[in-house]
């Protein structure tokens, strides 16, 4: 009755090595990006709402406040600018923030529906799977950002042409940071219903207590406390990193903060999803255990 594994040469042709080659790692990453992109394209409403949200801010909010909020010359701008121009980097970061939280929402959904297990029982290292998922989420956010920038361009709102390319590394870094934050949050959320709290306690405070809608010097004049909160908010630095990159400049402080937070959040997410240490294991969640 017993047969040995040596009887199955076809299996060995597929699984011949103990370790994975770089090509197989790339195949795994490609597969995860492909799946996330397909899901995004299938959910047209998600794509549309991801665009409508910043466009409403840009065309309605910014137009309404155009005469109220004057913009003095502050770096990286070298001349007076329209308010719509000022809030564009903030809206780009907002797209990435919402996308990061949306990814986190889909992770909670996947965990509840069981899809998450498909990913977690892959033989690749778990840290690699989570990083791949982060990269996939970031790729999806880039699609949204460039679609937004394209539409804004028709209204003559946008950076110099070179800025579209130069901002790419900043967008990747900010996308990773906000995606990793979402992933970390998803590990702490037990049920999909609890996700509304993320809107109230994460997205809105992060967005409004930042330089997305108003320069920090103005905030400082009205409330020094709020100014310091904004200064410590990593989202502020994501906005500034994008703002400077759009105008071919580097804000080194923001780069350091965003880079540091990215590493911190990724490590936190990896720990949270680690089977021997993570929150999910302690709660006995992924198995639906009995």
């Amino acid at each position: 009755m017993n047969s040995t594994i040596g009887d199955r040469p076809r299996a060995i042709s597929v699984l011949s090595r103990n370790g994975f080659s770089l090509g197989q790692f790339a195949t795994c990453l490609k597969g995860i990006i492909w799946r996330e992109s397909l899901r995004f394209l299938h959910q047209r409403e998600r794509f549309i709402s991801a665009l409508v949200r910043p466009l409403v801010w840009l065309f309605i909010f910014a137009a309404g406040f155009r005469q109220v909020l004057g913009m003095s010359i502050i770096p990286p701008y070298q001349t007076y600018i329209l308010y719509a121009e000022y809030i564009t980097p903030g809206l780009i970061a907002m797209i990435q923030l919402f996308n990061g939280m949306q990814s986190s929402l889909s992770m909670v959904y996947d965990r509840e529906m069981g899809n998450m297990r498909t990913l977690l029982v892959s033989p690749f290292p778990r840290w690699y799977l989570l990083c791949s998922k982060l990269i996939a989420g970031t790729a999806v956010s880039l699609l949204q950002v460039y679609a937004f920038l394209l539409i804004a361009r028709f209204w003559e709102i946008g950076p110099p042409l070179a800025g579209y390319l130069l901002v790419l590394p900043a967008l990747v870094l900010c996308g990773l940071m906000l995606g990793a934050l979402g992933m970390l949050i998803s590990s702490a959320i037990k049920q999909l219903e609890n996700f509304a709290g993320v809107m109230n306690f994460v997205i809105f405070p992060m967005f409004f207590a930042s330089s997305a809608l108003y320069p920090l010097w103005q905030v400082r004049e009205s409330s020094p406390l709020l100014y310091y909160i904004c200064e410590f908010n990593p989202f502020t630095h994501a906005v500034e990193l994008i703002r400077f990159a759009l105008y071919a400049q580097v804000n080194w402080l923001s780069l350091a903060v965003v880079g540091g937070c990215t590493v911190l959040f990724i490590l936190g997410a990896i720990l949270a999803y680690d089977p021997s240490r993570g929150l999910i294991t302690r709660r006995g969640e992924t198995a639906g255990a009995s």
Binding site: K30, P123, T281, S290
Partner: protein, 250 residues
């Protein structure tokens, strides 16, 4: 002496104060159909989570064809095919897209993945469903696709956690027959967790798990002989000391 496809050695697991598994030990030999029989809450899903490394092993050791699930999880997981109790297919993707995603998660490159997916769909008589959206399929078909997906990367050990739950009698019989055939044709080992006594075959290796303890771990004829039972239900009732089941068996 052959290396067991799966060996579970003195495994214990607790959720806080609640002990789900207590010193669980058994082995599944190559090309064997092993049934893990237990009532709901026996600890089957916890054991599955440990075998698939969704959870880390707190006490004891689990090896898949000699590879320690904790220390060499990559080697262990790549020869393992898993079908979970709840459905884990992506409903918004097609059957083929689900298979291709699974292949990528095992590092199988596109062309080879397409070949393997095609092959497995033909074997499971699902070829004409390749481009259907999973959401539009019946429960029985989804289960078959999950089994096809678990087999795609040619695992040596297939573990299935209550795969026939919620299916009609015909679908249950089809799936059971197909999985049993895999052992004869491919030499795959199977660990089939269930609470349905009629799924135990007369020559199956039977592992009875009850309240986190293994009460029997032998081929069915020996389990029956050891218990002095005439049927699986009778043996299960005697082992678990269930008066309710004993009266049913009589």
């Amino acid at each position: 002496m052959t290396t067991p496809m799966l060996s579970v050695e003195a495994v214990s697991h607790a959720y806080g104060e609640r002990r789900a598994l207590d010193n669980v030990t058994f082995a599944v030999e190559p090309a064997t159909f092993a049934v893990l029989l237990g009532l709901n809450g026996a600890g089957k899903s916890t054991l599955f989570a440990l075998i698939t490394r969704l959870y880390a092993t707190q006490h004891g050791r689990i090896r898949i064809f000699g590879h320690d699930v904790e220390r060499a999880s990559g080697e262990a997981l790549r020869i393992l095919g898993v079908v979970f109790q709840s459905r884990t297919l992506d409903l918004d993707l097609s059957v083929m897209q689900n298979l291709m995603y699974h292949a990528a998660l095992h590092g199988v490159r596109n062309r080879e993945a397409q070949r393997l997916a095609h092959e497995v769909l033909v074997r499971m008589a699902l070829k004409d469903r390749a481009h259907d959206k999973v959401r539009n399929l019946s429960g029985g078909l989804m289960r078959r696709i999950e089994i096809a997906r678990a087999l795609l990367h040619r695992p040596r050990l297939l573990v299935l956690d209550e795969p026939t739950v919620g299916l009609d009698v015909n679908s249950r019989a089809d799936i059971l027959t197909y999985v049993r055939r895999l052992i004869a044709e491919d030499g795959v080992s199977v660990l089939w967790a269930t609470h349905l006594i009629d799924e135990v075959g007369e020559n199956d290796h039977l592992i009875v798990l009850h309240q986190g303890h293994v009460l029997a771990d032998s081929p069915l004829p020996r389990v029956l002989a050891d218990c002095g039972a005439t049927s699986v239900l009778d043996a299960f009732a005697r082992l678990t000391r269930s008066e309710h089941l004993m009266s049913k068996a009589e």
